[in-house]
Subunit: 335 residues, 2 copies
Amino acid sequence: MRKITINDIAKELGVSASTVSRALRDSYEISTATKKKIMAYAKQANYHPNPHAISLRERKSKTIAVVIPDISNYFFTQALYGIEQVALSNQYHVLVYQTHDQLQTEIEFFNHFQNGRVDGVLVSPANNPDRSFEHIERMSEMIPVVCFDRVEPSLQMPYVTCNDYDSSFKATEQLIKKGCKRIFFIGISDIIPVIKLRLNGYKDALKKHGMPILQEDIVMCDAAQLLAERVRWLLAKPTRPDGLVSAVERYTFTVYDVCNELQLKIPTHLRIISFSNTPYAHLLNPSLSTVVLPAGEVGKSASEILFRKINKKDTKFESSNITLNCVLTFRGSSA
Amino acid sequence: MRKITINDIAKELGVSASTVSRALRDSYEISTATKKKIMAYAKQANYHPNPHAISLRERKSKTIAVVIPDISNYFFTQALYGIEQVALSNQYHVLVYQTHDQLQTEIEFFNHFQNGRVDGVLVSPANNPDRSFEHIERMSEMIPVVCFDRVEPSLQMPYVTCNDYDSSFKATEQLIKKGCKRIFFIGISDIIPVIKLRLNGYKDALKKHGMPILQEDIVMCDAAQLLAERVRWLLAKPTRPDGLVSAVERYTFTVYDVCNELQLKIPTHLRIISFSNTPYAHLLNPSLSTVVLPAGEVGKSASEILFRKINKKDTKFESSNITLNCVLTFRGSSA
DNA sequence: CTGTTAGCGCTTTCAT
DNA sequence: ATGAAAGCGCTAACAG
């Protein structure tokens, strides 16, 4: 089956290409008769317009890019649900890019977005120790860009985030209430703002309750393997911690493994509460106390802001930052 | 920052557009001097070609579509890793589409793929009771299409699948070996070939061991809610089953919930083994016996076949079907 | 109501 | 070694 163009239809029906174009877009200046004839023919010939020609001509791609660290993270898959929903209702397509938390990869992706490949970008930036955001800033001068979750408030663009500080504060307090005397914290890097917020909530809760903040109780790692070693070392100490606030779901599971290995019982020897969006938290052994981010809502809000900007309904970004609330659920791991 | 084109560069440097085009593609017919000048200018001006213009002109989009039922399924996220890897190495972009197992949604997506939006499609088809595959067949007459996991061997296109029959057979035998007297099976629909294969493996294992195949022990549902009801009913019977082979990961968790609700102990009252790709199977309560599909490999193989066809290295599909092997791991839930 | 024409940004003959 | 021109498929003045 060969690809059929507007010119093929025009020739076949003895009219001009512009007539076909207008008819197919249901223009008022075409007679009902020709319109019907053309539409019928197009349908039976299974005509679909060439999207590149349209994009070139119209200067828009009807496509957005979503740049995230990792698609196998439940938070991001759920966020993608929300994004997809909004994109489809705007008749847009979605390109998905995983950075695997590598800045260089992210930069390369952004280079591809220029000159019309996409009309907008949703990004949850990669771990960025150098704090080099030129690629994001440059992009946002050309097309709308909205950050979510991993937001950089210093960047001049809208963002959607959660009450990570408060949630972490409350989570830590819960462990204290349950009797924990020494609580440690795990994350990726305090350079990542959302991790920093969770860390600060943890620290302030300790402070409020007159507990010391130990440097060795703050474990930041960008690889699960390294984290396992650090945690193993920490939990093997005679004066080991008896509580954990985890900012990273998959690291929590690493800690579960280390506890099994060291024969430490959760929650008897270690109470745990974790930021996590897995729907199976309640089925774990023991069931996991969680801080759940409203992932779908985050994706939905972020893309709504994006499309408002793409459709030029909104030009100022100052008012469009949004903060959504997490849900804390206490289960066996912190009992 | 305005978008810069090849003409802008040409004008700025006092050469023609074709010279710029040739220089940027490192053509041998351009002098080293002009080449250098043009490349330097393009770089500092942060020039990137308009992909739609190239796609229109070259008649290819450098983009593939991946159509899957559900992105929050670990099998598919892992498959996407493999796909992404191969796509990037071919300098291709990836459009992701979720059908949510709705045929109509899938058909609409496929309509968008015509006329050059994508150069190829990887698809794991939606549940399709009507068995209407015209949209896939029509597409594969225009561009390369490769199926994976949810394959339809009757379709004239290459596919990558797993040894689902054998794996299911072995899984069932394991339960029998452990002493199960009555084993039930859960899935989405036996219209889906991969589910059918797993069902047949289950049936044949029962047959081999002289166990009856009861119709009420084959539970097919396309919604977790319905499944919960059916399973609740089945497990509340006085003559309830004492074993389960689950073809669907998320349904397995539904069964865990129902067991908790009915105060049935796994594996004491019900032994379970499940097709599942969650990396946290060993952390569940009890730990879950699994049949793990080599998801990354599936994605990688399928996209390699696809790109072989896109790059015209391969025109015949007969030889390119691939079957990969699952890994069975027995844990607490079937002990 | 319909056709002619120009042009979106790029590549590629065909000249020179 | 470089430029002029045509054309990928489509839309939108402009003309009639």
